[in-house]
Amino acid sequence: MSEVSNPPQGATAEPVLALKSRSKVIAVTSGKGGVGKTFVSANLASALAKRGLRVLVLGADLGLANLDVVLNLYPKITLHDVFTGKSKLEDAIYKAPGGFSVLLAGSGMVEYSRLAPEVRDDFLRIMESLVPNYDIVLLDTGAGISDVVLFAVSMASEVLLVATPEPTALTDAYATIKVLGAQQKRQSIRVVINQVARTGDGTGITTQLQQVLDRFVNKDSEHPLKLLHMGDIPADTAVRQAIMKRQLLAQADPGCPAALAITQLATKVESAVIKHGA
């Protein structure tokens, strides 16, 4: 047995959710941890909500979900309680300050890090019943390429990969892109470069990632993997300040550069998912 199971050779990603549900789900993931997945998920959700969309953020980071800290929201009931039959699903969904909904996996889920088939089934059943109530579901996954992350990502039609310009983050992002391409036969991955020094730096980084992919991965692949650059978010002291205040950027400092970048990202995400999916 291994911590990360290798799927059988040539296995295609099964459409684990019915197509209609799947098309609304976006997995926010990264290679390295701490690059800003949770920050992007929460603030993107609030920007999408402001555009009139019904948004759910699922803190699928089965370990330590810091979503609660970012939102100053401490849900007592988590998905874990729903799985174990202790609570009803409705009771695990909380209203976040930004006008969107939040469901946390809960740290008790750690024991499921090697997802048993029953857990997968439970998870899928819950997703099937949840997704119709929303226009967009953001899955804030854990870092890296564990079974749990791959499973969470497999439920999503779109992947939003968060990376930073820092070398280790970039290497890990590249590795994650490779795995998602190979294991899930993905054709495209959306990329956000967070914490850039200057707006515009991110475009170059995504281009660089694409060139390496083309040269080493796409060259003998029938499904060339395309990276879609969704934008840059500048490194902004307002982010830390907002997090210290346990507030969303839109509340703490709506005019700051990072907040503006998130608003732009929301526009792009909306047109990518809603117009596409509909």
């Binding site: 047995m1 291994s2 911590e3 990360v4 390295k32 941890g33 089965l62 370990g63 330590l64 750690v110 890090s113 090697r114 854990g142 870092a143 890296g144 390429i145 564990s146 079974d147 749990v148 070398p167 280790t168 970039l170 290497t171 890990d172 590249y174 590795a175 994650t176 490779k178 795995v179 170059g204 660089q208 990632l209 060139q211 390496v212 083309d214 040269r215 080493f216």
Partner: protein, 264 residues
């Protein structure tokens, strides 16, 4: 004062401390203060002593299996978050039974103590060595890059093999160890069982291959080749050479330029 009338106050003479006291008095490293001086200080020392005892292996003073498992769990949590490279080594003294059979159990104990000391002297203060039981030891090395781990394990093996252990006035003996190692999978929340199982597999290989050797499982993870890295960071080389060097792939720089030119 108030404590004399306080109905919740505990009086030392009411407590059955004999077993605890006996346990602690057996342990040379633990010195209890006089109970008369301050009952609170005395009780605190008894509790501290017991905690200390429950974490340590009495013979070698190393952390015991229970404590080690607790530390392993903490490491698993931190790796899942940080992606840090952490190595687990399982170490077994070769043909230990022969030592006991030939020189007696006291000699066996001396060997265990000498090996423990040697193991501890080979690792950094941040590493933990534990006696797993019998003649089996384990070490956990946080923040241990792949190239580093193999070197440390080899150093440990060598140091033990060079150790002369005096088991009686007329006899000094040598023992060897076999080491199996496995890294925690980066970013993945593993389990104690899976991780130790992988290290055990390597120990088994070391034993089968003739003992007195080190086997470490190759670190997994998604391979990103030096060429790929070179190209990924090609752009950094023109700007800030220091940040490109962070990745330790400096030799890739020449490659990077040519790869870039070909790719463009």
């Amino acid at each position: 004062m108030a404590s004399a009338t306080d109905p919740s106050a505990i009086r030392l003479s009411d407590l059955r401390l004999d077993d605890a006291r006996a346990l602690l008095e057996h342990d040379p490293s633990c010195e209890l203060p006089k109970p008369e001086a301050s009952p609170t200080v005395y009780l605190q020392s008894v509790l501290d002593g017991l905690c200390e005892l429950s974490l340590r292996d009495p013979l070698t003073g190393l952390s015991n299996r229970r404590h080690f498992q607790h530390l392993l769990n903490m490491e698993i949590e931190s790796v899942a978050r940080s992606g840090e490279s952490v190595l687990l080594l399982i170490i077994d003294i070769d043909h230990f039974k022969k030592v006991n059979d030939t020189y007696g159990h006291h000699a066996g104990d001396l060997v265990l103590q000498a090996v423990s000391k040697c193991l501890e002297s080979c690792v950094r203060p941040m590493d933990t060595v534990s006696r797993f039981g019998g003649e089996e030891f384990a070490a956990i090395l946080p923040n241990c890059p792949a190239t580093f781990g193999a070197v440390v394990a080899e150093r440990i093996r060598e140091a033990v093999s060079e150790l002369g252990i005096t088991v009686s006035p007329s006899e000094t003996i040598h023992v060897t160890i076999s080491i199996g190692g496995a890294y925690a999978p980066e970013w993945v929340r593993s389990t104690i069982e899976l991780w130790t199982e992988r290290a055990d597999e390597q120990l088994y290989r070391a034993k089968s291959a003739g003992r007195n050797r080190v086997f470490i499982e190759e670190q997994r993870g998604v391979a990103v080749s030096a060429d790929e890295k070179g190209m990924l960071f090609g752009h950094l080389l023109f700007g800030d050479p220091a940040s490109a060097g962070v990745d330790g792939d400096a030799p890739g720089s020449a490659v990077a330029d040519s790869e870039m030119n070909r790719a463009n």
